[in-house]
Each structure stands twice: as C-alpha cells, then as structure tokens.
Symmetry: C2
Subunit: 352 residues, 2 copies
C-alpha cells in the first residue's frame, strides 16, 4: 500500500541516532513510520496536500474526483505461487485505489532493470502485468525504463502509480470511522507472506500455499453498489492486519477491538506461522482488506463479500469501541485480552 500519513507511534530510537537506512525501515512497522514521519512527512507536509490514506483524492474542474496512488515493488523472489512481481504491481496499486472507493482506470509502469536481467524473464513479468491489468479492467497507459549496472539492482524493480475515479457521494477515509463500526476482513489472512517466505526459504509444506494476490476493487464496488455504509477500507499489506488496524486506530483516535476466534486464517497458514514463529496478524496479504462499516450493515456486507470467490472467507472480526484509548486490543480464544502493537521493524523483508 502507499503510505498513509498517520501520527507516528512513540519511537524509542531517535532516527538521527541511527544515521543509516536499515532493512527494518521497509517493514511496515514502527521504524518505517518513524522514517516516514522524520524524513518524508516532515519535509513534504509543508508543500503538499497531506495524504491520509492509501491513495489521495482530488477534485477536478467539472466535478470528477480522482484517487491517485503509487507503490514500488521489490518483491523477492519475483515469481511465487499465485503470482509474480508483474501481477503484484498491478494488484497492489489497483487495491490502493479501491481503498478510497475509486474505480481504478489507468496505471503507469516504471521499470528499473539491472544489467544482465534475462529478457525472457522481463517479458514474462510484463505479460503478467498485462494479464492482471486486463483482468482488472485497467489500462497501463504510460511507462518508463531505466537500466542500472550489474550489482546496482536486483534484476527488476517495478513502480506503478494509478488513477481511479471516485464515485459521486463516496467518501472513504480513516476520519470517517465511527465508534460502533463493525470491522470486517474480506478473507483469510497471511497467504501472501507465507507463500513468499516458503519460496525464499525453500520450505515445503504439505499444501502449497498460494499468495492471495488479487485485485479487490470488484468486492469494494459490490459493497458500495449495495448501499453498504462503508466508512473506511484498508488493504492488509506490509505489517498485516495488526499494522493496518494500528494505523487506523491512530488516525481515527478510536479503540479497535478484535476477536481472535473470528479472524479467518487457513489451517496451512496457521501451521506455517507456528513453524516459523510468526504471528499471522502481522503477515502481509495482497488481496485482502479490512472494512469499517456501519454496524447495521455488517451482516449484509459479509454476505455480499462471501458471494464472490475473492471474498469467500470474509468475516466480521471486531468492532470500534465506544471509548478507550486509540489502540488495538485482541480478545483471545482463552478469554484474555491483549494489546496488539505495531512491530518495531521488519518481519519479512521485500514481501512486496
């Protein structure tokens, strides 16, 4: 996802004392937010319309509103069960647009190629982008290619930016979250991160875990078209559900309460996480989102999502509390309650 601007959670290590970029700065956790806050937002807030969401929304003469977003993709390995860097670069940016309720229309594609990359592989990824774009109904309309010397890249990095059209009357943003809102997820969590990790580490599980990488704008349109009062959406990429809900708790100033037993996680993913010592709440998805909806619409929204294969695993997993500090708590299967914090740094580098 493109980074939303949210207040930085307290960071114990002042950035100036670290001095250099760490891998952990890319992980979607607290260190990344600290870097964003300290370097990017501090510099850009003055000159820019402060973005507050996965994509930024702008009005044009004539009344149309567009959403605009960008993501760079450095996923390693570039091929994984369920996708590759090409399809991921389309899905990720389409989904960022969808999180504003926008209908994705146009993508740009920027390639940084490392000298020596096999052209056959490049062609494969570009064709994968084409197929993903065609399936999502978006057009790749402008592009750029740069080549860097051997050893100054890692084969292929892709950037996509995207433009979508926000339907009249639709406003989906963190500041629309209300106490009482139902918190839904569109499907089971953690498949993408585990799929990547399995290939990278050469792990063989009984079942091949495929990435959930997919374009979810159709699911969002289904909710909106049915009149579901969608207050906020957030795709569950780097840092997973835990980071996304922490960002939204901070941005809305509200407490989010999740119920562990209702959070859908497929058994093979759960088993892999146990084996690897990972908490699935922090593992990235690339085709799942959280939806904050009016509580009276929750049941219908889940049913609508489940009617689509992409949303077959949808569930309500919690709600926004009426009061309490802006944080995320989890009611465990055993009846205890714990705070779900952001990770400090990197759980899985180069997951997207």
């Amino acid at each position: 996802m493109a980074e939303p601007i949210v207040p930085s959670p307290s960071c114990p290590v002042p950035l100036r004392d670290q001095g250099r970029v760490l891998l952990a700065h890319g992980g979607g956790g607290r260190l990344m937010h600290e870097l964003l806050e300290s370097v990017f937002f501090a510099a850009l807030r003055g000159s820019a319309t402060a973005p507050a969401h996965d994509s930024s929304v702008h009005a044009l003469p004539g009344g149309a509103r567009i959403a605009f977003t960008t993501d760079s993709y450095v996923v390693h390995p570039r091929r994984f069960p369920g996708g590759d860097i090409g399809s991921l670069a389309v899905h990720g940016t389409v989904n960022d647009l969808a999180m504003s309720g926008a209908r994705p229309l146009w993508l740009s594609a920027g390639f940084v190629l490392e000298e020596g990359l096999e052209i056959a592989e490049l062609r494969e990824h570009v064709q994968s982008m084409r197929d993903a774009a065609a399936a999502a109904g978006v057009a790749i309309v402008t592009g750029d290619t740069k080549v860097v010397e051997r050893g100054k890249g890692d084969g292929l990095y892709v950037n996509t930016a995207g433009i979508g059209l926000v339907p009249d009357g639709v406003t989906i943003a963190p500041d629309r979250i209300r106490a009482g809102d139902a918190v839904l997820v569109s499907g089971d969590l953690g498949r993408h991160g585990i799929a990547i990790l399995a290939v990278r580490e050469g792990l063989a599980f009984e079942t091949t875990i495929e990435s959930d990488s997919a374009a979810v704008h159709g699911l969002v349109a289904t909710l909106l078209d049915a009149g579901i009062r969608v207050h906020c959406l957030r795709d569950l990429t780097r840092g997973g559900l835990a980071s996304a809900s922490n960002e939204l708790a901070a941005a809305s100033g509200l407490a989010i309460e999740l119920v562990e037993g209702s959070i859908p996680i497929a058994e093979p993913v759960r088993a892999a996480c146990e084996l690897l010592g990972l908490d699935p709440l922090y593992v990235a998805c690339e085709g799942r989102f959280a939806a904050f909806v009016h509580p009276a619409d929750a049941e219908r929204a889940v049913a609508l999502l489940r009617a689509d294969p992409l949303g077959a695993g949808a569930a309500q997993i919690g709600h926004v509390a009426a009061d309490g500090p802006a944080r995320v708590t989890l009611h465990s299967r055993l009846g205890s309650t714990r705070v779900v914090d952001m990770l400090s740094g990197e759980q899985l580098p180069r997951i997207c």
Copy 2:
C-alpha cells in the same frame, strides 16, 4: 521523459539474440526503443490505450482532461552542479506533463532505498524534492518507500508519477505536427549531460557547467496563453535533440530539417563535448524542450520564450519539410547535409 510509443526504427540486432538487458538498453537510443517495442509495447498494446507522447491524456466525466506520466530516476551521482536526484525527479515529471500542454498539479513519489543509505542524505534529497515542487507549484500527494538489502540497489532510486490538467482546447501531440512547422528549442543544449559527466569522471573545466534541470511548464503556459499554435512539444532528455527529433519524425511520418548554425550550444559545453568526443546533439538536457509551432507564430514564440530567463537561449533551429522520408537531416555550417540518426545504445548511462 516517459517513453512515447513510436514505431521502432530498424534494429540490426534482434533482441532475442541478445537475451539479457544491457546498459545500452537504458540509453534513449535505438536499443532502448527496440526493447520497448519488443517487450513492453508488444505486451501492453493489446490491453492499453496506446500512449503516444511523454504523457498520456484522458478525459473524465465532467469534461476535464488529465495528463498522466511517470519516470524513474537512477541518476549517478545523486548530487551534481545545478541539482540533485530530488529536484530532477520533480522537474522531469513536471516537464513530461508540460509536453502535453498540461498544467502539472500532483506528483507521487516512490523511493527504493538501499540498506545503509545515510538518512541525512535521504533527507537532503527529499527536501530538494519539496523545494522543487513548491517552486513548480505542484504538490507531492502520495508516496511509498521500500528498502532493499545492501548491494541490491545504489543508495536511492526515485520514481515520480504526475497528473496535470490539460487546458480546454489544447491538443499537443506528435500527430499534430504539420509540414512547414517551425522547430524551436527553448534554450542551449547539453548542459545536464555534461554536468553529470564532469562530476562522474572528475573532470575540471575552466567554467563549472551547471545542469539545466528546471521545470519548464511556465514556458509552455506562456506560449499557450499568448495563442501560439503549438503543435507538438518534446523534452530533450535521454538521447538529446537527435533522439527526440528522430522519434518525432517517425511518429509524424515527416522529415525534419535542422540548421546546425542555429542550434544553441554554450561554448563550455561545446568545448567539453569536443574533449570527450561527444556530439552535443545527443547529450541530455533536463530543462529544455523542442517546440513544433505554426510557422507564422515562430518569431513571436521565440521572443516569448526569450523573455523568460529559463528560455533566454531559445531559437528556431529548423523546420518540418514539405516532403521527403521521415528522418532528420542537419545542414552543417560548411554547407553539407547529413542524416542525424538515433544512436544505437548508450552514450551516457544513468544520466537521469
């Protein structure tokens, strides 16, 4: 510049026989066009609105038309006389939008950071982006940061995408070029490429040659506001004037005739090119463009450009011929005429 889709010039080396990406594929010359044609356009043309210019233009409900473009920046070194990767990433994308006659409005910024990059340097480049954006009147509204392992990048790569608003009635594109059009340039050529090369190679010239990196949308607006009949614009980045005019000759199907003695090149740049064995017609600028205008407006257009410090060196350098093959010829100072071809590969790697 973002790559326009133009017919590929004949390429003597079939891409499939090379098999791997070469540095020369990034150079703005024939090899780059061959790669674009063979890999990117071949795959994307089917699903996409064929782009035909530095930015692609799209109509929205309500009548507004937007231009959309992207560029990745891998310039080495990241700091050079007259700018840095931050200002360049703003100027380059603003200029791509301006080449459609658009008023640039919003930029995205995607960063690929290499583990170990000094945060102080990152901050410097981000602040440079901010300053360049503020000066150009555009807002950086969405962003993304990824971190790759040490040795898998080169400190910092930046991608910017941009959206601009195309004024009513303005259509600027290669297929608007007409026989008889005057060919102008907005200033002297080659400063950016020579400035980069001087730093990279540790060359000391008598005069420090500063990059021409600048946002030129104000110059374009000046022409349009004055009613100059602007048919086509093209910024003179990778591959310089020679590549840009070859692309436009191919795209328009018309012959372009240039007059060597009228092409403005500053004496220090000319001297550096001679020393280095470079043809200044192929050296990149980052703040200059070619304008194809109605011949009756040429003189006034040059005067309007020259009235702005950014266009002080503007000149008419040729015209579009009434007939002849789609190629570029240069009438030399000595009275001879030669064809100006595209370079095959890379003249200066990582110039932008």
